[in-house]
Symmetry: C2
Subunit: 430 residues, 2 copies
């Protein structure tokens, strides 16, 4: 989420030259990402590297298919300046999410633009792990085949799961709502995909969704953010001081099983009064509708069910509004603990909390001052996510992209450098 300053090397330090080169390639790539298309001269001025070094770095990045020269800038005198920009034409990464009620796949190009997406409702808890992962691998295969036809190469996949992911092993130790315990999901998915050379990572879905939040729109640059993902389970992804909070084995951010009410309802994890029993989707649905009601049918698309619920709330249905109020109350109670602990600039409500954000965000914000020790809730704002149900998949694709941005030499020099028409100098005969 950040990049360091320039590194230069004297000729004697030859052992470090490869490292310095790699660092500087990453520096130029990250600068283009954060600052947009610009000329070699501007890049040189802004990074402190020499113009000749920048030219050489840009040439290598172009050979690797990561940057391209854009349209010729016009209007100046002398030789036209050709802005350099990230090139989205050659590579893509994939984020692939399993959640309790859906699968999601997002593919991004190097410019972090969505080039393919899939979203499939699925009652994952009713299926075996291999069946769920088979469906997910099928979606990834579909997207990959589609993008290969447009000449793009797959350079990384990150899987997102709602459970405890042990780092660095990547084993899913526990995802009780899915009924998963100690599964090497990466190994299973690798066996189902025909991509032996493609880097395959895995992370908790809330961690990846938080990464997507701080990489998107006006949240870029937010260094202290808590993202809550509302689904059957409840997760948190925490960015603290610009870094994703992981803990010693990758288990940080387990908010769903905070015990906020010692005398509360039994939880699927075997304990009582966990936050998930108060603000998980099933608690809301149970309060809002009787058992036979379609909004409670896990076989139906969760997005449609939430639309129905939102329509009832807009119509002023008392039971729906009461259920939302109750959810907002407990959401505020847990949010108070999190805001006291993390002092975030922003608390983002994701998943179903975002879909029903109109009834949840303001009550949570209003509840904070009574629960947060710091004045004015420590400066924390509460906002719904704008990324919808695809945040974790998007975060997964971003995570895979970040590997390329950290080390642009991770993608090979292309055998035939991309050919482009020579630029036509302004004023030359057409």
């Amino acid at each position: 989420m950040s990049y360091g300053g320039r590194l230069t090397a004297d000729a004697g330090a030859s052992a470090g030259l490869v490292e310095v080169r790699r660092h500087n390639l990453a520096l130029v790539l990250a600068h283009l990402r954060s600052s947009g298309a610009r000329s070699r001269a501007t890049i040189a001025a802004e990074t402190g590297l020499t113009r000749s070094t920048v030219s050489s770095l840009v040439a290598e990045l172009a050979e690797r298919g990561l940057v391209a020269e854009g349209a010729t800038a016009r209007g100046g005198v002398g030789r036209p300046s050709q802005p350099v920009d990230l090139d989205g034409a050659h590579f893509f990464t994939v984020g692939a999410e399993v959640d309790l009620d859906h699968l999601a796949v997002t593919a991004l190009d190097v410019r972090a633009e969505v080039v393919a997406e899939r979203w499939v409702p699925l009652d994952a808890g009713a299926l075996r792990a291999t069946a769920v992962l088979g469906r997910l691998a099928g979606l990834v295969g579909e997207v990959t085949a589609q993008l290969r036809r447009s000449g793009r190469e797959l350079v990384g996949i990150t899987l997102a799961v709602p459970g405890l992911v042990e780092q660095p092993t990547g084993r899913v130790l526990s995802a009780p709502n899915l009924g998963w315990a100690d599964i090497d999901v990466v190994d299973v998915v690798r066996g189902l995909l025909d991509e032996p050379a493609c880097p395959l990572l895995i992370d908790n879905e809330a961690n990846l969704a938080a990464r997507a939040e701080v990489s998107t729109g006006d949240r870029v640059g937010v260094r202290d953010l808590v993202l809550l993902t509302g689904g059957i389970g409840v997760g948190a992804g925490v960015v603290a001081g610009g870094h994703l909070l992981r803990g010693v084995h990758g288990f940080a951010g387990e908010v769903g099983h905070m015990q906020l009410d010692p005398g509360g309802q039994p939880c699927g994890c075997g304990r009582r009064g966990c936050w998930e029993t108060q603000v998980g989707l099933n608690a809301l649905l149970a309060a809002a509708a009787d058992e036979g009601d379609a909004v409670r049918d896990p076989a139906l698309d969760v997005r449609r069910r939430l639309e129905t619920l939102a329509a009832r709330a807009e119509d002023g249905d008392a039971r729906t509004l009461e259920a939302l109020e109750r959810t907002a109350g407990w959401l505020g109670a847990g949010a108070g603990v999190l805001v006291n602990l993390f002092n975030p600039e922003l608390l983002v409500l994701g998943g179903y909390f975002a879909v029903l954000g109109r009834w949840l965000a303001d009550p949570v914000a209003a509840a904070l001052p009574a629960r947060v020790f710091a004045p004015r809730s420590g400066g924390c704002r509460v906002e719904p996510s704008t990324l919808g149900y695809s945040a974790a998949a998007r975060g997964g694709a971003l995570e895979a992209l970040s590997r390329i941005f950290a080390d642009p030499t991770a993608v090979a020099v292309r055998s035939s450098p991309p050919t482009r028409p020579a630029p036509v100098p302004s004023g030359a005969p057409a």
Copy 2:
């Protein structure tokens, strides 16, 4: 808490040379701190810098009084190797803590060895802020005068307070147990001290105590640690991924006012059921003894009162043991939330929790598996602090030292370089 790799510069990058030099001075200094006394040749081999660069850097650090050549290493052939080491003889930093029941001052030399200490019991809540800070400034003045007589120079002070410290302004927004609200403590203390040129910082006492924990003994290198400080109030200092967790305005780690029991006792902050009402020292003392009992007298030294309590527990006094068990139970409840959120490698019990650690640490560790979602409590161990009641003061002095380690040019080249006897080559006539 970490330092980067070597930086080298080509001759053309003259604008960066000062920065590179400063970075490399810091690199050598940090290397000596983490690895101990060693020869220039060894430093060169271990840092990747050339021998001539290391010689020049060591010479400058010696001129600044930060390193010295140690005893001549014997036993080898050829010219004896003279190990270079941190020099504790010339500088010191001070950490000065206000707590509810005591003041503490710790002075450290550059080797992080304690060169002076003060500990004074004080019922700070019964005095006005300026009176408390006057006493604190007096202790700092005493220590400074003592160390100046031994030829040492004061190069930094950090104040530690049990309250909300807004960063980067350093204002103490709220310390309700002290009755402080929105006080510019740095400004007050600067006015009371006669040290206009000395850098004066301030931080929350638990943050500084956490810094001391991860800088001491076998906890050096622990990257994920939660320190709980038990006193009248309860604080947490969190180190996550090697960084102190601060939040957007410095308010992170406010555990004392986590609401763990919606129907609980009223808290000094105006809310109900805050963790402080369950595990703060006053809750323990109220459960353990009647009102007239000396252990509850805030005018008496808290260390003596805790010794009395410990003696009663060792004698098997039922009321004392029940009170400790109750405290351990609530300590485990809150610790469960923290371990779920931070997945620390280590939960350290500080302040009075450490003094009574024999009755608290094991029950808290035993309570975690039932409260923590990750298996085996996410790998978290629970240990009492070994730093006693001086952890925050020690952390403050370390914080001030870290400024020198980050930029060794912050201390001036000494007008008369330290004179030392010329080393006598082994075998030369004496």
